[in-house]
């Protein structure tokens, strides 16, 4: 066994790092570094640069315009992006709906949507959760009734991330209320401009507008916008949940957060000495360091298994649970490191374009991010759901 990257992989890392130095616009990098929200245009500018480089669709096979990377390269790319304060690619088009289209879509659907994802013409958002269907997603009630060559869709979706910027929605709807609950679900692609769609912001406890409610009121969707057969929506959704989840631990982000925490705790003084030398604080940083080391090797084990042809299944649940817990702990330690400086809240700076004095700017995001990171153990299947998956699929309980 060995944990070292090959010379070729190290060259790749250097290449990615150099690209980030050359290409990442300074103002976007600064917004990410300070934890400020990106504007739609910031996302698009960065994703267009990635697209031009051929690196936007990291998971895609070459025949669809992907770079042909394996899991190891994707891991290196993610790590380098996080370290350079590059924005995370908005995943709903390129990493979520695209693989479903490649696997289940018709040739026409692939030809129509994939190129538009690849050059950022479409901004996709996700219509999965509903007010009454969270962890129990299959109990969703948004209804689609067939009327000649259209579906008439009625219902409400929620937690739709960045839906305010999106022009396309992929959506799970119930087409057969009589069937067993998973069997009555279909997968629709919906143009957000269609009459009857209303997007309403949800302000989360960090004061941010990231997620939305989407109301669908007699929305007419052409039948050709259904992916796979009627009643096959759950199969598409499940495929999405197990597809390429080797990055789910957020290792690059955790590493970056720990680096940031350490440099912060060296700079901040406590009784005339760096905070990092305060024993009880230091002990928690040490524990986080250990957890990160373990998580990294576990992540590499899953990546190596995927590289060698295995599909990361329930192991990704382990990564999600431990990765989210670690990132939450790091956000807690960062907030604590700042102490009194973590208390002031500047939403117009964090979420808008208001300037803020440098002395406040560097610490402005810490508490908001602490609250924002609570989502990590809830979204994508709450950690308790992940544990139930491990119990069932790995332990056979």
């Amino acid at each position: 066994m060995n944990l070292t990257f090959t010379a070729e992989e190290q060259r790749f890392r250097t290449e990615v790092r150099q690209f980030l130095v050359d290409a990442l616009p300074g103002d976007i990098q600064e917004r990410v570094r300070l934890g400020r929200h990106l504007r739609a245009d910031d996302h698009l500018r960065w994703q267009n640069l990635l697209s031009r480089q051929g690196w936007l669709a990291a998971h895609w096979p070459v025949e669809h315009g992907g770079p042909g990377w394996g899991p190891v390269q994707r891991h290196i790319f993610d790590e380098e992006c996080a370290a350079a304060h590059a924005p995370t690619v908005v995943p709903f088009g390129v990493t979520m709906v695209a693989p479903v289209l490649m696997k289940f879509g018709t040739a026409e659907q692939q030809a129509r949507y994939l190129p538009r994802i690849l050059d950022n013409r479409d901004w996709w958002c996700q219509g999965y959760s509903e007010p009454g269907a969270g962890s129990d997603l299959a109990s969703l009630t948004t209804r689609a009734v067939r009327e000649n060559d259209h579906y008439i869709v009625n219902g409400q979706k929620t937690w739709t991330t960045l839906g305010q910027h999106a022009n396309m929605l992929f959506c799970l709807v119930r087409t057969d209320p009589a069937a067993k609950k998973q069997a009555g679900i279909s997968f629709l692609l919906i143009d957000m401009q269609t009459p009857g769609i209303t997007v309403r912001p949800i302000i989360t406890l960090d004061g941010a507008h990231e997620v939305n409610e989407v109301f669908l009121d007699n929305v007419r969707v052409p039948v050709e916008n259904r992916v796979s057969d009627e009643g096959q929506g759950w199969t598409c959704a499940k495929f999405l949940l197990t597809h390429e989840r080797t990055g789910i631990a957020g290792l690059g982000h955790a590493k970056q957060a720990l680096r940031h925490l350490k440099s912060l705790a060296k700079r901040i003084e406590h009784r005339g000495k760096p905070l990092l030398e305060q024993p009880s604080f230091r002990q928690r940083v040490v524990k986080a360091e250990l957890e990160l080391m373990a998580l990294e090797v576990t992540n590499l084990r899953v990546i190596a298994a995927a590289r060698d042809g295995g599909a990361p299944g329930a192991e990704s649940s382990l990564l999600k649970v431990r990765g989210s817990e670690l990132r939450q702990e790091l956000s807690e330690l960062t907030r604590r490191a700042l102490g009194p400086a973590a208390v002031a809240f500047f939403p117009e700076f964090l979420y808008g374009d208001e300037p803020l004095d440098e002395s406040y700017a560097t610490s402005a995001a810490a508490s908001a991010q602490y609250f924002n990171r609570r989502k990590l153990s809830i979204y994508g299947g709450a950690n308790e759901i992940q544990k139930s998956i491990v119990a069932k699929t790995i332990l056979g309980m």
Binding site: M293, T298, L300, R301, M397
Partner: protein, 373 residues
Amino acid sequence: MDFALTDEQRMLDETLTRLVADKVSFEQRRHMRNDSKAGADNALWQTFAELGLLHMPFSESVGGLNGDGTDLMIILQALGRGLVPQPYLFGLVLPGQLLALTASAEQQTRWLDPLLGGEHQLALAWQEVAARNDAKGITTTARRENDHWRLTGQKTLVMNLESAAATLITAKLDSGKLGLFVVPAASAGASGFDYRTMDEQSAGDLTLQDVELSNDHCLSENVEGALDEVLAIGRAGLCAQALGAMESACDQTLSYLKERKQFGQTLASFQTLSHRMVDMHLHLEQSRSMTILAATSLSLSCEERDYRIAAAKAYCGESARFIAEQAIQLHGAMGMTDECPIASVARHLVMFDHYLGDTDFHLETVSDRLDAA
């Protein structure tokens, strides 16, 4: 980056797993506890010798099979899974590697060759009560007098002392450096006090009162670097052994939850219990990662090696205790009985932390080097 075992390593793993299943069942282990044939004469030890296991972790230059950290991990993990009582780590690997690093050709012929040949076992005495886990802050002294040395001091927690043909002993020299000596059993002035550890291993304290040794018993007059290297090997090995025991604890607990019924249903069907089981599994997998990290760190620079291995030992120490406590709890009152197989595993998992430096000791090492990391 590669986590796959080679064909030879897979065979080694299978052979050992089969051997442990055949020879070291729960009942057989009980019997071994009272076996009068301890040490190298033990039948299982002789089987180890026949299988080449005693040569495996040593370099070719001393007649070994050039096994690396991964080979050592495979062996100790398999032995740990079956709680095999033979002192592979403490009676063979630690003193053997120290001899390989320090001994002259004559000394190797006298002490190392018979060790690898399964003719005798040895022990390593590096710890003292007042120094706790610090290998350097010891008070045992060795003085050169004409053509011999004289050793005085007291060593504690000398694993495998009772069965050792000789014990390697660290002592402070007049130079201020750390020396290493080989003290044959029953040397005049050396007296041992043998005991069993809480987790059923053989150990003892050793008192040295003006023990006179000829020059050829001095292995090194500056052993610090070699001792660090050997303790690193030992710590990586201990993690692997504990990992095997953690696997066993998780397997046993999972089976118990699936069999045992209360309120008309299996314990596994209760979500609060199944999630505790998953927590055990998470600790197990993270410990496996840390054990791999330790096993693949042995050839790095000393700073990098010691940092990673301290992290691994601290991490596995906490995980092992967590898994032991959960295993006892999930077995209910049965888990409190000596008769229940989980008892020996739990005892080992908790006590493992005390060997070769505990979690607090290793956290301190990580903490001291945190800024550089």
